[in-house]
């Protein structure tokens, strides 16, 4: 009896996947650094640099994890990141007193986009791929058409978010760590988190258990949009001003989905978590840094990246019993 209970501890086998993935990524990074003689990359500041590569993609990917867990998907994040970065720099115009209004306005925009996405998916019954592809296209188009009128730059004080730090640790990393912990706490320890897993695992079962599945899906989309907004604000701080293409050029939509799935979250929903996603982001960051140290040609890098995405997902997908589409 007791053995049965210990054997079905939920999500216990998940942790090793993320730890394994993170260990492999760091191992790859260290081996490359040692073999190319770039030992400066192994100093504390080098390692912090590696982690800082994770921030932009990490923030989006945490949000993406929420929607994928609930059985949906969000392709509009790339366009939303661009919109937030452009809006933030336009509202601030280099004026530090406008920092707070700009942040509030940006997060308000994200809230609205998240609500629209969620409403289309949960209440409209529209396939999430199409619904969020559509809203992403709408945002991208409006942004590109009006960019001429939306120029500006963020305040110098705002750039502290990307370049400043506390005791040598960049604020952006503190932000990523804090938000990751908060997300993990919400998923593992709160009722909302339990409902997300329930709805993603079996929507009909969740509905029969009295969960308002539409509300849970809607909330997950709002979370994803807010995280995309945080990523957009970080990018605006790092680049000083946003352009309508920073989200699309970073392929944040597809890459955030890729790292989430690499981290062991199932596309159908109901299984996975933030730790795996962060390990996936660390893998991408280590690969990027490693390829740079090796001096691999940018195009070849892309070829390898594509192959690694497939291989990394295949490692745990290959054991799937049923069919996937």
């Amino acid at each position: 009896m007791t053995t049965d209970i210990t054997r079905i501890t939920p999500r216990a086998p998940r942790l090793p996947v993320s730890v394994l993935l993170a260990g492999l990524s760091l191992g790859f990074y260290i081996i490359i650094a040692l073999s190319t003689g770039e030992t400066a990359q192994l100093s504390p500041s080098g390692i912090l640099g590696l982690f800082q590569r994770m921030v932009a993609l990490g923030l989006v990917a945490i949000g993406q994890t929420f929607v994928i867990l609930v059985g949906s998907i969000d392709l509009s994040v790339a366009a939303l990141i661009s919109a937030v970065a452009v809006l933030a720099s336009h509202v601030m115009q280099g004026d530090p007193t406008m920092m707070l209004p700009a942040i509030v306005l940006c997060l308000g925009l994200c809230l609205m986009v998240g609500l629209i996405n969620g409403a289309l998916v949960a209440y409209g019954g529209i396939n999430p791929l199409i619904a969020t592809l559509g809203t992403g296209l709408v945002i991208q188009g409006v942004l590109a058409a009006s960019f001429g009128m939306l120029q500006g730059a963020v305040a110098r004080e705002f750039q502290v978010l990307a370049y400043g730090g506390l005791l040598g640790v960049p604020y952006s990393l503190v932000l990523l760590a804090a938000l990751s912990l908060a997300a993990a706490f919400v998923l593992d320890r709160t009722l909302f988190g339990a409902r997300i897993y329930a709805v993603g695992g079996n929507p009909d079962g969740a509905r029969l258990a009295g969960i308002r599945t539409e509300q849970v899906i809607l909330s997950a989309h709002v979370v994803a949009s807010l995280f995309a907004g945080a990523s957009g604000l970080y990018l605006a701080a790092r680049l000083q001003s946003g352009t309508p293409w920073i989200g699309r050029d970073g392929i944040y939509d597809l890459e955030s989905i890729a790292v989430t799935v690499i981290g062991g979250t199932i596309l159908a929903g109901g299984k996975g978590g933030v730790a795996g996603t962060l390990a996936g982001v660390l893998l991408f960051a280590s690969l990027d840094a490693g390829f740079n140290m090796l001096g691999i040609d940018a195009f070849l890098k892309q070829v390898l990246r594509g192959a690694i995405v497939i291989a990394a997902v295949a490692v745990h997908a290959v054991r799937t019993k049923g069919h996937v589409a």
Binding site: L120, G124, G125, I126, N127, L129, I130, A131, L133, G134, T135, G136, L137, V138, I139, Q140, G141, V142, L143, A144, A145, L254, I257, A258, V261, L267, D297, A298, F299, L300, K301, Q302, V303, L304, R305, G306, A307, I308, V309, I310, V313, A314, A317, V318, R319, T320, G322, H323, V324, A325
Partner: protein
């Protein structure tokens, strides 16, 4: 006794609805084009419209095969880019080699399709991730091969496939070669889905892979073949694109999403089980008519994306709404 007529009426119903959705949108949009620019009603301009829409229609037909079996193919645009760049590098202005190179391009395309299919069917990687990986790899390969810029040259006989217009054809006046390719491809795609067992298998696999397997359908082979058809369509579209817009490193950018959008606008159901070649054809024609209309209205290029997005949501929303009302 009473169930017999119902049974014969049921299978036809989804097909008719799928046809209506795409066709109606296309006719409305084309009527709007003709209202602004009446000479679009002349056969010559209509043929020219079809010629420019040909790559998208062909891509949509290929994508439809994958969508019917329940997947997505995000690698099409990258394959089309690879085809355009590879053709110009391999042929390099020598018309003698054109046909051999076209053969080689199809081999490349089929290889990409096979890899996609094998990864999805046997490694169980969801197609959206598998073909995303293929998209990154193929795009990187194309750019690495060409050094990141268009080089080489396409000879006249290659470009004619997309560009040549036959004059003095009875009934229609002018007939672009690309339209003949288009009609041929659509006919083969239609035959594949309606004239062979494969068409039934694709629908069954998309609808319920587990049930299909229990009924003896070769699920893996059906899936793999769908990805191969999709890649072949991407090669064909790439050849036409190289013909009329020349060589560029972003020749195929974004085409994969347009092809998916076209199928969905035409009434094909994502995640499989429903749709016909007509949903792909008329969905793609609708989308292209929309682009043409927005150009004629003089809207900024960028707003094209916005309106495409809104139409996409509206088209799927309408399908969902109709479905709910019937239920």
């Amino acid at each position: 006794m009473t169930t017999a007529p119902q049974a014969s009426a049921l299978p036809r119903r989804p097909a008719r609805i799928a046809l209506n959705a795409g066709l109606v949108i296309f006719v409305v949009l084309y009527a709007a084009i003709a209202f602004i620019q009446p000479n679009y009603l002349e056969p010559g301009l209509f043929m020219n419209f079809l010629r420019r829409a040909a790559p998208l229609v062909i891509l949509a037909c290929g994508q439809l095969y994958v969508i019917l079996t329940g997947g997505f193919d995000l690698s099409m645009g990258a394959v089309a880019t690879l085809v355009v760049l590879a053709a110009s590098i391999l042929i390099n202005g020598d018309p003698e080699t054109t046909w051999a190179v076209i053969g080689a391009l199809y081999v490349m395309g089929i290889a990409v399709g096979l890899v996609n299919g094998l990864v999805v069917a046997f490694l169980k990687v969801p197609s959206i991730i598998a073909t995303l990986g293929a998209m990154l790899s193929v795009n990187g390969l194309a750019l690495a091969w060409s050094g990141g810029a268009a080089r080489g040259d396409l000879p006249e006989n290659f470009r004619n496939l997309g560009r040549l217009v036959l004059r003095d054809v009875p009934f229609v006046g002018t007939l672009p070669l690309a339209v003949i390719v288009l009609l041929g491809f659509v006919a083969i795609a239609w035959w594949g889905l309606n004239g062979t067992v494969y068409g039934k298998r694709a629908l069954v696999v998309g609808d319920n892979p587990r049930a299909a397997e229990l009924a003896g359908t070769p699920v893996a082979a059906t899936r793999i073949l769908a990805f191969v058809v999709s890649a072949v369509s991407a090669v064909t579209a790439g050849i036409l694109l190289g013909g009329f817009s020349g060589v560029s490193v972003n020749a195929g950018e974004g085409l994969e999403l347009q092809a998916i959008a076209a199928c969905v606008i035409g009434g094909a159901q994502l995640l499989g089980g429903r749709g016909s070649v007509w949903s792909a054809v008329f969905g793609a024609l609708s989308l292209f008519a929309l682009f043409t209309l927005l150009n004629l209205l003089g809207l900024p290029q960028a707003l094209r994306d916005s309106i495409q997005g809104a139409i996409l949501i509206a088209a799927v929303g309408a399908t969902v709404w109709r479905g709910r009302r019937r239920a």
